[in-house]
């Protein structure tokens, strides 16, 4: 039996990675279709025969939860297995999705091999195992220094698993010493995203644009060339922030809570913009291999 698979994700990078993993896996696939949100997915599902849906949760226009609910309300769609591929770390929301008929859950960052495994499991008679693998889970940190350590561990884990890159926590002075034009890259990109829930806040990540190229190249699994477009570069950095945010919320705030996150946005900055961001006390300094990076995770209790 050859499968028709529908991949639903607003990130072109993630759609590319999932399709590549399926293509390399020797899974018996007839056709792969793409949708960038739940509404587009329902249109495709109502027009063509699909055996399996791999879907994100946080998407604009119509999110994955609503898409699953709509599928369950239609007789011809409710038997199609849905696998959620998401940064979602909330056990409450995962249980809700399972109750709504979601067959399996893959947490970002995932390995390409796990995509193949879940396709086989979700389409066979024995049923899949849910994959709760993600950033290291431990007790929610109580002190500021514990929180900083956990943020570092989560960021390290995300970069290593998603982009095959190594992260090192450094002192602020280390990045302040990179002042000469030769040491300091000229252009930077800041990715930002807001989240709401029991706590609300922001995650901001600023990196040199050269690092964004490396991230895109590694995540998609291609050498940097013309086939990696500006859209891919931007999208890869957004996805790094998205996955970091999801994993930070479950590691720092807790896995029982349910959060909604907005789509990440990008802004360009020069060296002065970088220096200003570096001086903000909430900025946590890192080196990602040879590149400097600053991460902020800001939140407060919702009123």
């Amino acid at each position: 039996m050859s499968l028709n698979i529908l991949i639903v994700d607003d990130s072109v990078t993630i759609r590319t990675v999932i399709a590549k993993a399926i293509g390399l896996s020797n899974a018996p696939v007839n056709e792969i279709q793409f949708a960038s949100n739940g509404e587009e997915a329902l249109n495709i599902l109502n027009k063509s025969f699909v055996d399996l849906v791999l879907a994100d949760i946080n998407m604009p226009v119509m999110n994955g939860v609503e898409m699953v609910e709509r599928m369950q309300s239609q007789d011809q769609l409710k038997k199609i297995p849905v696998v959620v591929v998401s940064t979602e770390g909330s056990s409450t929301r995962i249980d809700e999705l399972k109750a709504k008929g979601v067959k399996a859950f893959i947490r970002k960052p995932f390995t390409p091999e796990s995509i193949y495994k879940v396709i086989v499991e979700a389409t066979n008679a024995y049923g899949p195992e849910t994959d709760h693998r993600g950033a290291p889970q431990s007790e929610v940190p109580k002190t500021e220094s514990d929180r900083k350590r956990v943020i570092g561990e989560v960021f390290e884990s995300v970069l290593q698993n998603l982009a095959f890159m190594f992260v090192e926590s450094v002192e602020r002075e280390t990045l302040q010493s990179m002042e000469s034009p030769h040491d300091l890259p000229e252009k930077f990109i800041k990715a930002s995203m807001a989240f709401t829930g029991p706590v609300h806040g922001w995650v901001n990540l600023m990196v040199p644009d050269e690092l964004a190229k490396e991230l895109a190249s590694n995540i998609i699994g291609k050498e940097i060339d013309k086939s990696i477009s500006q859209r891919h570069l931007n999208d890869a950095l957004k996805e790094v922030l998205n996955v970091t945010c999801g994993n930070l919320l479950s590691a720092v705030v807790g896995t029982k809570q349910v959060f909604d996150a907005a789509s990440p946005t990008l802004t360009e900055h020069d060296q002065q913009g970088w220096k200003d961001f570096l001086e903000e006390p909430q900025s946590i300094p890192f080196m990602i291999e040879d590149w400097p990076a600053l991460l902020q995770f800001l939140f407060e209790q919702a009123k």
């Binding site: 039996m1 590549k20 993993a21 390399l24 896996s25 020797n26 899974a27 018996p28 390995t111 390409p112 091999e113 193949y116 086989v120 290593q160 095959f164 890159m165 190594f166 190249s217 590694n218 699994g221 291609k222 050498e223």
Partner: protein, 181 residues
């Protein structure tokens, strides 16, 4: 190193070493995989296989040593094995890929994370070469030995020199999976 026992010819792949073979009577083996990483590749259609044992993650850490022996480093070592396999006619889509090692031996506090880094670099190179891992036994405080039997294409990983839950990559089983699905 070559030794003959019965009809099989056993080649020991040392640390920072590799061997590629197309002889069905060969057995390739590498010992002492702690934080080092072992990679075995086998193309079942043409019967070509190879094994590499790399010590450190990235060659840019020591370009002089890397130039003298690229097999010491995972980035250059894995690339060397892939090149040798392709030169012998192997096809990336057919490769059965097994990974062993990448433990945290002698580094339990995780200061250097050599094993983890070896594994991450290996994954990056395979992903960029459009290759997925078929089987693996990695991580933990364990020393492993890895065998590639060229007559069957099976890779067997043994832990602590004893056969504790050996991991086997069975070429026949993988082929059946494709046919059944």
């Amino acid at each position: 190193m070559r030794s003959e026992g019965g009809h099989a010819v056993v080649y020991t792949v040392g640390i920072s070493d590799m061997k590629v073979s197309d002889n069905a009577s060969d057995v390739l083996v590498t010992h002492s995989l702690g934080s080092c990483i072992g990679l075995s590749l086998y193309d079942p259609e043409i019967g070509v296989g190879g094994l590499v044992h790399c010590m450190m993650p990235v060659s840019k850490l020591d370009p002089v040593k890397a130039a003298a022996n690229p097999l010491m480093f995972t980035d250059t070592g894995v690339t060397s094995l892939l090149k040798s396999m392709f030169e012998r006619g192997a096809n990336r889509r057919r490769l059965v890929v097994t990974v062993a090692g990448a433990g945290s031996l002698l580094d339990e506090k995780g200061f250097f994370k050599i094993g983890e880094k070896n594994y991450t670099i290996l994954r990056k190179i395979l992903w960029k070469n459009d290759i997925l891992i078929s089987e693996q036994d990695v991580g933990g405080n364990i020393v492993r030995t890895m065998y590639l039997y060229m007559d069957t294409g099976k890779t067997v990983i043994k832990r602590n020199l004893m056969t504790m839950n050996p991991v086997q990559t069975d070429v026949g089983q993988r082929t059946r999976l494709k046919e059944e699905a």
